[in-house]
Amino acid sequence: MIMALVLTPAIAAALALVLPGGARRVLFPLTAAVHAALTTFACLSTPAAAFGGWLGLDDLGTLFLAVTSGIFLAVSVYAAGYLEREVPGPRSDALGSGVFSNARDAIFVACMLAFLSMMTLVTLSQHFAVLWAAIEGTTLASAPLIYFHRHRRSLEATWKYLLICSVGIAIALLGTFFLAVAGQLGASGEQVMDLTSLLEAAPGLNTPWLKGAFLLMLVGYGTKMGLAPMHTWLPDAHSEAPSAVSAILSGALLNCAFLGILRARQILEAAGEAAFSGHLLVVFGLLSMVLAAFLILGQPDFKRLLAYSSVEHMGILAVGVGLGGAAAAGSMLHLVNHSLVKAMLFLVAGNTLAVYRTRTIREVRGVMVRTPVTGALWIVGLFAVVGSPPFGTFLSELLVLRGALHTGGVLVSVLFLGALAVAFVGLSGAVLRMVQGLPPGGYVGMREPEPWLSTMPPLALAALALLLGLWIPGPLRHIVVQAARAVGGGGF
């Protein structure tokens, strides 16, 4: 069962390289659907651990696996339509980098599926070294995706992504080794790296090495998660990658890196060092929120706008877990909400980019007139991403805020609310400007065709985001609370 989850997309990725174009486009969403079905099955029945206990599905992993698989399914349907529409052969770049052509379809599909396989492996890892290798694997599988449009800017983004994330993740490996040393110098005198043994041995671990391990892993995996000040690769990669890839990066990959930090947090929690790790998480989280909020303000490019919004939301997640208690549960809930909303917004941004051929906000006007469905989705997405009722983000941000008021103190609450307010102003100003008004010259009254493959997936994600604001299904509530308990939080 566990192996099937990892191997299905991996085998499909190999198949994608040899199958002809038509079959490949069917294979892609089909594999995603099979993966989603397997995930559902695995979440309902607790599957046995595999690979000598190194791979398994615990409460925390279940939440992340479900989110990853769900987002991937929606995006794969969208991407199938996207590949259909992309013209093969050289064409001129709308943003002025000369002529470019896309990488082959086969590479896109194969890398996407390999990417899914690696992210699944991250969620299933019960061993810190496997976790590390899997997160590094996600970097390598996704780098060719960012360079799908073969022009200079995407190459620059790919280079930054590869270098910054590889170095960052290397630092997380050092943290993993620190953990082993903490075990050797601890009460048991043994070097262990698997989660179960570490959780058992946690109270006896050597404290200085353990703290060092957490700091290194926070910086290392935080680089990949996009926490400020290590976030510099994120806006470039998100804006240059095809929108379907950006949606996966924001909706699933950042979560996987966050899982790396949460695993380390689990150990510190069990070792009685929850306060140390909590303070660090709150500091990095608030820094990300504040920095991203001000970069959102006045941002001229709508995909970078969404990317910085992701940095901000990653900050919210870190703050929530750092505060603990009900805020941690809020953070876990927010993770689900943010993935739904941000994946949806990137897909919508892709639709707008396809019609307007520009990412500059001031050159986009009248989305509502030209493409009404996309325009409406922009509005819905805007309300969801800034956390206004009745969307799920409202509830989850409220839970984190309540935690900030109760345990964080005045400064944390003020910074948290301030960043949210600044981001609200920046996001709503940009999005409302794009949606309203009349399209630039010659397009008055003209409606562009909106293929259902590119509107249905974001519509479905938006519906889910709305549903979570009105009613949280019992099983999801259970998973969220269990995941929050695993990282030292409580119910809500």
Binding site: H151, L162, L163, F177, P235, G298, D301
Partner: protein, 224 residues
């Protein structure tokens, strides 16, 4: 035991050479030398006892001292890269940074309790290598030199693992090696593309992506 210390001292010297060296090929050879030493250190520390240890040492040398340097040399040839490093921070200042980093590594490592049986020079050397690698990534302008910097960071962490985390299952160590190998290969492919697209692998030419200034020409230029 003294053999390990000698290897560690040579590793420190090799890092100083990387900081002060001006020829790319010499830098690549230095990284290859580090690879040989990294294969040697675990053997010298634990002795030749089990087959898996020897196999792992051989694999380390094969990947870090033969395969990756060969690949980087090939990249220089194929992309006809100029054979000199282009430092953003001058070589003399780089060496000065090296001395500072060495002092800092010694100070920082002394603050952590040492596991029994580990060489006292181990933690400072590993930390020093990581710092030098990070410095090379930011202080050298060529994309290829940044790859060398990344390799030095990896080497430092690998050394730490070999010295302190010796109970790591061999499967994990192979996975680590494999990740580095694939990582550098992917970087190498990106390097070829950078060279083709920019006629140079100077990473300072990679400067189109930034915030607030987006000088895009007219919107509807592309084929709709």
């Amino acid at each position: 035991m003294p053999w390990v210390d000698i290897a560690l001292v040579v590793l420190i010297l090799s890092c100083l050479r990387l900081l002060g060296g001006s020829r790319l090929v010499a830098c690549i050879s230095t990284v290859a030398l580090q690879g040989v030493l990294l294969g040697f250190v675990p053997l010298a520390l634990h002795g030749v006892t089990v087959f898996s240890g020897v196999a792992l040492a051989a694999l380390t040398v094969a990947v870090k001292a033969l395969l990756l340097p060969w690949f980087l040399r090939r990249a220089i040839r194929e992309a006809s890269i100029l054979r000199e490093v282009q430092p953003i921070v001058s070589l003399n200042l780089s060496l000065l940074f090296g001395l500072g980093a060495l002092a800092f590594s010694g100070w920082a490592a002394a603050r952590l309790p040492l596991p029994p049986g580990a060489p006292s020079l181990g933690a400072p050397t590993a930390l020093f290598m990581v710092l030098v690698g990070l410095f090379l990534v930011v202080a050298r302008s060529k994309a290829l030199t940044q790859v060398i910097g990344f390799l030095v960071v990896e080497n430092g962490i690998f050394l730490f693992g070999a010295l302190f985390a010796h109970d790591t299952p061999w499967l994990v160590e192979i996975a680590v090696l494999l990740d580095v190998l694939v990582g550098v290969f992917v970087m190498g492919i990106a390097l070829f593309h950078i060279n083709r697209a920019f006629d140079s692998i100077d990473s300072r030419r990679l400067h189109e992506l930034h915030d607030l200034v987006l000088d895009a020409p007219s919107a509807n230029e592309g084929t709709p």
